[in-house]
Symmetry: D2
Subunit: 138 residues, 4 copies
Amino acid sequence: MLAMDIPALERFLAEEFPQANALGFSLLALEQGSITLGLTASDSHLRPGGTVSGPTLMGLADAATYLLILANIGPKALAVTTHLSMHFMRKPDPGTLRCVARLMKLGSRLAVAEVHIHGGDASAPFAHATVTYSIPPR
Amino acid sequence: MLAMDIPALERFLAEEFPQANALGFSLLALEQGSITLGLTASDSHLRPGGTVSGPTLMGLADAATYLLILANIGPKALAVTTHLSMHFMRKPDPGTLRCVARLMKLGSRLAVAEVHIHGGDASAPFAHATVTYSIPPR
Amino acid sequence: MLAMDIPALERFLAEEFPQANALGFSLLALEQGSITLGLTASDSHLRPGGTVSGPTLMGLADAATYLLILANIGPKALAVTTHLSMHFMRKPDPGTLRCVARLMKLGSRLAVAEVHIHGGDASAPFAHATVTYSIPPR
Amino acid sequence: MLAMDIPALERFLAEEFPQANALGFSLLALEQGSITLGLTASDSHLRPGGTVSGPTLMGLADAATYLLILANIGPKALAVTTHLSMHFMRKPDPGTLRCVARLMKLGSRLAVAEVHIHGGDASAPFAHATVTYSIPPR
């Protein structure tokens, strides 16, 4: 029932979003309503004190939502972010982050996802986001 | 491990927040990290078209978060809402709403919860909120 | 250039939203890009401690945005709130509140406003909101 | 009345946040309650289609708020972002962006700013953010 699977999303990213490689995440899991990205934080993501920067976390949440929408509606759609709200609750340690986005609404005009970013051990989240995309007319 | 159970929260509400009765919710379940409220929407909650009003949904999410914090830290604390963000995703039908708040962070100064409001059948949520409280020094 | 002026908005409210009267605001000023509502807080808006309730402030911000959109696009449109985010920064004193909404975007599908709620003396705001409406196809 | 002026903020950034140079903004103006940053978007900020990336805009809003708080309370404080919400309303053209942050609250524990990001001509904003920082005990 998905319009794109993980290999199709990876090809799309490599062709259309070479900058996404700079963020350096990998696609770990994909279902109809959710996607999981992994990110091993490297020096370019870090702030003083060794924590992962806010823009890295926000970019990760945005990318997860975008890929989950594409997986559902296919690569032709030019969806754009209209709103992103993130709570930063704990300092993420350097190491592997897990970012899980879940679709709460996929309408003909708007999609809304919630995103949790955890450390490797899936304890309480470092950050939580809601992300809204506008879906263009087909 | 909870500082207050459901009967203690109900007594606190009746004594300190008689206005909460106007909202008309009931406490259905309480655990360390989550609380469930039920609301049977009556005429006073409705907007034209028979849908539940936004302020009713926002007030319900705020109350659920407040009670969950009190259940954890006790009735003496004077916690105040500093931020509430709500996505309205589907029109809630008249009938019983279930509102589930989950604590994502309970720090010494800030608490953050996420809240899902569903219809009776626990399908996709009508509304999603994040709610932040400031916890006063003890 | 406005589709509706203040008397037209007042007639629309009286006919279509009798519940809005319960909130009890008045329309003080209207321009192309902004609207000002006044609210004299009465007992029904108050929480213990004499402060105005969060749902009252959120309902006021939502109503201001709705009326500003209607003033621009006319009464036929069935616009619905998709997101409201409010920061509560100071306790509003009982007395007259001034609520100013400004349109930041009025697109064919989405409208976004920012809202400041002040006391009578226009000092630092008690509360700040952003409100997003979905505009139906015409 | 400011604890730090523009040259002091620039020295602080160069010493403590060498990564901020990667973002590439300049400090254009500073008053008690507001700060203006300029950013000439270069290739590293761009997404396909030539628009400035969301993480660049969010990083810029966060940096503006951080510097405005430091200007008011001095460089010793270890303030951390607890929440950032951004509306993306128009595609920013490549070229110079102006980012204006205004303090709405500077309390002993929390600071809240609103941020508008415009093009060079100060027309309707491309993006609007609210940013919350937690201020550590002194």
